[in-house]
Symmetry: C2
DNA sequence: TCCTAATTGTTTAGATGTGAACTGTTTGAA
DNA sequence: TTCAAACAGTTCACATCTAAACAATTAGGA
């Protein structure tokens, strides 16, 4: 079923390029929404979960808020709030960097590790369900195409090269 | 360049399915962000622009807030706010449906039409730039794959079938 | 006719995204 | 050494999105 039909639009999207772009955004939104609902059932948000996962796969090393923002493509203002809430619920803790007092080091607590270990299997299962029935060659091609879109965005739409981890 | 490299992650994503999913979400976010910035330069948001475009391609017919929400996959609570702001800046106007007093009919003003006619060419040019250098067969394959992901989401993650235009 | 259910829109509370201004800290060049 | 620039984080104002509760209205069956 085409996108226009799926959304009940009055007419099909004019060009296949435009339809592809809308497909990417719409599918991404739908995935993010499904993730949000899954985590919401566990008093967490997807943004918060992603922070915890980054900390988990840093092998116990603490990360600065700036580094977390870079990896998750979240700007520093948002990261302040996300870490605030994670700290309030006791899943992470902040400490000042010993060598650079500008930096907040964020470290996962035992409680945070427990939450990730409980939620990650369900998350990965959901990923498997979403991508099921798609051949490996289609996945490879999908990834190449999306990478091309992003390189177009960087080269042709953002002359400078978006600083600030956004 | 792979996703992990691009984001500066410490290790590659475990499975290609997971990498594909992250690619979709990340690329969609990046596109939405570029759109937001483009419209922001004209005192508008992408959500507001999308409403105006729907009205434009309805051939002067007014649409209810519920119908707009269905088409743009925005829930009704958000639509109240989006239409509020568009009305405040004079780009649309509300009127009560003559046969059903629950319904707000939203109609574009002359000023709104002018704004769309100014912004749409640049928007479409941006779409062309983002999708440039990608073969038609890749676009077709991309669309089929993303549609498959959405049908997986509906069948396997949302047992009911998300009502409320979300 | 009456009554329940569904629909439309608004409101609320909270989390996240946008940009911009600001403080404090560090770095590097004159 | 000193001073300007860069950087990390916070705060602000605003728009969007989440869910949930609510009022008003309409539709459909008993």
């Amino acid at each position: 079923m085409g996108l226009a039909e799926e959304l009940g639009l009055e007419r099909p999207v004019e060009t296949i390029e435009h339809e592809s772009l809308l497909n990417i955004v719409y599918t991404g939104t739908m995935i993010a929404r499904a993730a949000f609902r899954y985590f919401q059932g566990h008093s967490l948000t997807d943004a918060q979960f992603n922070v915890l996962v980054q900390l988990k796969y840093s092998d116990g090393k603490a990360l600065s808020q700036a580094e977390l923002g870079r990896r998750l493509v979240v700007n520093k203002a948002d990261m302040t709030g996300i870490v605030d809430r994670l700290e309030r619920t006791g899943l992470v803790e902040r400490s000042v960097h010993p060598k650079d007092r500008r930096v907040n080091l964020v470290r996962m607590t035992a409680e945070g590790e427990k939450v990730v270990s409980v939620l990650e299997p369900g998350y990965l299962k959901g990923v498997g369900l979403l991508m099921s029935g798609i051949s490996r060659s289609d996945l490879v091609r999908l990834n190449r195409t999306l990478e091309k879109v992003r390189s177009n965005a960087k080269e042709k739409l953002i002359p400078d090269g978006g600083r600030d981890g956004r």
